[in-house]
């Protein structure tokens, strides 16, 4: 890296550039993210403590918060590759998630008749790792199929194709015809409207057991890390201090931590993708595809790569998200989830990877989980009050200056109001900060700093007249 020009005309620009948000300046992206997360957790804990939320519930809430932050940040990152970098308008995200988790289910559910839920259709009984790889590949493949015809068309047609595809996926999952059948001796199916019971090994347990393999060789025990360390020491150890079995809470926390690690992996992967000649071509396609093509880049190939990678990541997110829920039903995968992820990306700022993570975190903490948490806290404090059942009953007492029923009604309908809140935030954001929190920022698409090379500088300061 060279010095800046004497007159300071060329500012240095690298990853450690100071960033400011909400009027506060941070030395770099990492500290800003950390500050944001710490503030969020502090707010949650203060709210919980002040109102007197039970500790166990609070801890569980924080674990869930982490789960949602990681998931939405990952989703926003994957969408950012498609929309922020390449300008591909994917509004069928949820379809790729559904594909991921359903394919994983089919591959990894126990064979028919051997599982815990004998009445249900079975799977192929493959290890969960194989199932996850299969699910990710299937989501990528679906993305490829969607991209092939659609990428030749204008951006809005891709949008139509993707949302249609996500609905096709959902209706296929609902279909009676596909709900059960026998393929090559296996009783398989998508389960129709009843969905599928995900009776494969819990992902967390599967992961810890996989990590345990080297220890198993040494100790000669099966799943040493899981049975001895995780259950034997951690869970049993903590249960000494708490009434009741803490395993579910610890599981939530451990799984959330795993998700944070995977989020880190996503970030590194997508940052490297973005800050490279590959990412540069993607950005160029977003700006003007014809020009990029005229400069000798096979734009279709770049677009397909970007789209397929994004879709495969979305498939993985689907598996991580729904794979721990015990069961899946097709109607979970409504377009609403797709739009949540879009909101997260818009908050953070399309085109910025750090912004995507922040947008995901802010969306998860304050728009998605926040209102539910508030409802939870308030209802706990008030001792599960009975709210009025209709709007009229809620509003009428206001005339006699009694706002309690209206308040309770509002709290009771938090899940619906959440959408209103999201809408309001979007409108304010569009008005005040259309680029999102970090979208205005320059994230230069290059793997090296773009400062003027030292050998070249003398030429410039002499007006380019001297020879080298």
């Amino acid at each position: 890296m060279t010095d800046t020009e004497p007159d300071g005309e060329y500012a240095q620009r690298d990853d450690e550039e100071a960033v400011s948000l909400f009027g506060i300046t941070f030395p770099n992206d990492g500290t800003m993210l950390l500050a944001l997360l710490l503030t969020t957790y502090a707010l949650y804990m203060i709210a919980g403590f002040v109102i007197g939320f039970p500790v166990r519930g609070l801890v569980n809430q924080l674990g869930q918060l982490t789960f949602w932050i990681a998931l939405f940040a990952m989703s926003a990152l994957a969408l950012n590759l498609q929309w922020g970098y390449t300008g591909l308008f994917n509004i069928g995200i949820v379809g790729f998630m559904a594909t991921g988790v359903y394919v994983t289910a089919i591959l990894s559910k126990p064979v028919y008749g051997t599982g815990t839920s004998a009445a249900q259709v079975g799977g192929l009984g493959l290890p969960l790792s194989v199932g996850i790889v299969g699910g990710v590949l299937a989501a990528g493949l679906l993305g490829f199929l969607a991209a092939l015809p659609a990428l030749r068309l204008r951006a809005d047609y891709l949008a139509i194709v993707t949302i249609a595809l996500s609905e096709i996926v959902r209706f296929a999952l609902l279909s009676n015809t596909l709900s059960e059948g026998t393929v090559g001796g296996y009783t398989l199916g998508l389960g129709g409207g009843n969905g599928l019971i995900l009776d494969f090994t819990d992902p967390l347990e599967a992961l810890i057991r996989a990590l345990s393999l080297p220890f198993d060789l040494v100790t000669g025990q099966d799943g040493f890390l899981w049975t001895e360390i995780y259950i034997g020491i951690i869970v049993n150890g903590i249960s000494v201090f708490t009434p009741g079995n803490p395993k579910s809470v610890i599981d939530t926390f451990a799984y959330a931590a795993v998700l944070l690690l995977i989020l880190g992996g996503f970030y590194v992967l997508l940052r490297r993708t973005g800050n490279s000649p590959f990412g540069r071509v993607l950005k160029a396609i977003r700006e003007d595809e014809d020009v990029t093509n005229a400069l000798g880049k096979n734009t279709n190939q770049f677009k397909i790569k970007s789209f397929v990678v994004g879709c495969a990541l979305m498939g993985l997110i689907g598996i991580l998200w729904f794979g721990t829920q015990g069961s899946v039903t097709p109607n979970t995968f409504r377009p609403r989830i797709t739009f949540y992820i879009w909101i997260a990306l818009i908050i953070g700022g399309a085109g910025s990877n750090t912004g995507s993570v922040m947008g995901g975190a802010i969306f998860a903490a304050f728009l998605f989980q926040g209102p539910r948490y508030a409802k939870n806290v308030i209802e706990t404090v008030l001792g599960e009050p009975s709210a009025p059942s209709s709007f009229a009953q809620a509003v009428a007492p206001i005339l006699s200056a009694d706002i309690v029923p209206f308040f309770l009604y509002t709290v009771d309908n938090m899940r619906q109001l959440q959408l209103v809140l999201m809408g309001v935030v979007l409108i304010v954001l569009m008005h005040r900060r259309p680029d999102g929190l970090l979208g205005h920022r320059k994230e230069i698409a290059s793997s090296v700093p773009l400062d003027r090379p030292a050998s070249n500088k003398s030429l410039a300061s002499d007006g380019g007249e001297t020879d080298e």
Binding site: S276, R280, A294, G296, I444, R452, P453, S455
Partner: protein, 282 residues
């Protein structure tokens, strides 16, 4: 402009070996671009009708004609934006008819656009760095896994980009968003960017439209410099005087046909040209 000369090896090294092509007499080393019987219709309208011409290496050739003469369509047929209904476009001895624009560009025939199309939300340097061909880091896996390999080439490309910006005297704008540039600066950027693809020949679509006289002078100077270095230019232009003063050969199109071609003097005195192009006023 010494730095541009030291930038890379000369654009062209004439080889003595004769390339056999189906064009018969013409020598590839002298005639890089060769268009025959080009025809393109849109619905019922024939935009280009049996057009054919040659462009000599190391020259500036002008393509002029009144509105609707088929200049832009010819341009688009050559660069792969349109596929001609019939006819042949040969570049450096290979048939490039109907290839995709990126394939044409990768063969060394690079175009600029009538309205300068910068990549506005990218910096000038990023704009430049999109252009170089066969970048290692354009492979996704390499960008993610083999950063050292990619970085090494990136440093070279950054240096070349700065040198080219120096040559065009827009290095002070390097870190500006391209969208903030003035119309003339965008034209310079577009030409600079096209050069970074290592082209043999440049097709400029109205490079002087909307450019102020001072910048026009500079742009012309650069083009002349580049031509002296061995680059070949085909320029579509509205401004007849500009073409007449700067090009060694002028091709006149009218109603999809090649009306005539020759030196500026020959064209200027051609009755048909005066009639068609100037509406008989002169």
């Amino acid at each position: 402009m010494s730095e541009a000369e030291s930038r890379s090896e000369p654009a062209h090294t004439g080889t003595d070996e004769e390339l056999e092509t189906n064009r018969g007499t013409a020598d590839v080393n002298e005639i890089p671009l060769w268009v025959r019987n080009l025809r393109k219709t849109f619905g019922g309208i024939t935009a280009v009708d049996d057009a054919g011409f040659e462009v000599e290496r190391g020259t500036m050739t002008g393509l002029i004609g009144p509105n609707g003469a088929g200049k832009s369509t010819t341009f688009n047929c050559i660069t792969g934006v349109h596929t001609p209904d019939s006819g042949v476009v040969e570049f450096n001895g290979t048939d490039i008819t109907g290839l995709e624009p990126y394939e044409v560009a990768n063969r060394g025939l690079v175009r600029t656009f009538q309205i300068a199309r910068e990549l506005s939300e990218m910096t000038v340097l990023e704009n430049m760095l999109v252009a170089p061909k066969n970048q290692r880091g354009e492979k996704l896996w390499r960008s993610v896994l083999a950063r050292e390999d990619v970085n090494q080439q990136e440093y070279e490309l950054v240096e070349r980009a700065w040198e080219t910006l120096d040559f065009f005297d827009i290095d002070h704008l390097a870190e500006e968003y391209a969208g903030n540039l003035s119309g003339g600066q965008r034209k310079l950027l577009e030409l600079a960017r096209a050069l970074l693809t290592d082209p043999d020949m440049l097709l400029l679509d109205e490079p002087f439209a909307g450019v102020n006289p001072t910048l026009e002078e500079r742009l012309l100077e650069h083009i002349h410099d580049l031509r002296d270095q061995g680059y070949t230019f085909l320029i579509v232009e509205h401004d007849m005087d500009l073409i007449m003063q700067n090009c060694s050969k002028v091709i006149v199109m009218h109603q999809g046909n090649i009306l005539t071609e020759g030196t500026p003097d020959q064209v200027r005195n051609n009755e048909q040209v005066i009639e068609a192009y100037l509406g008989g006023e002169v």
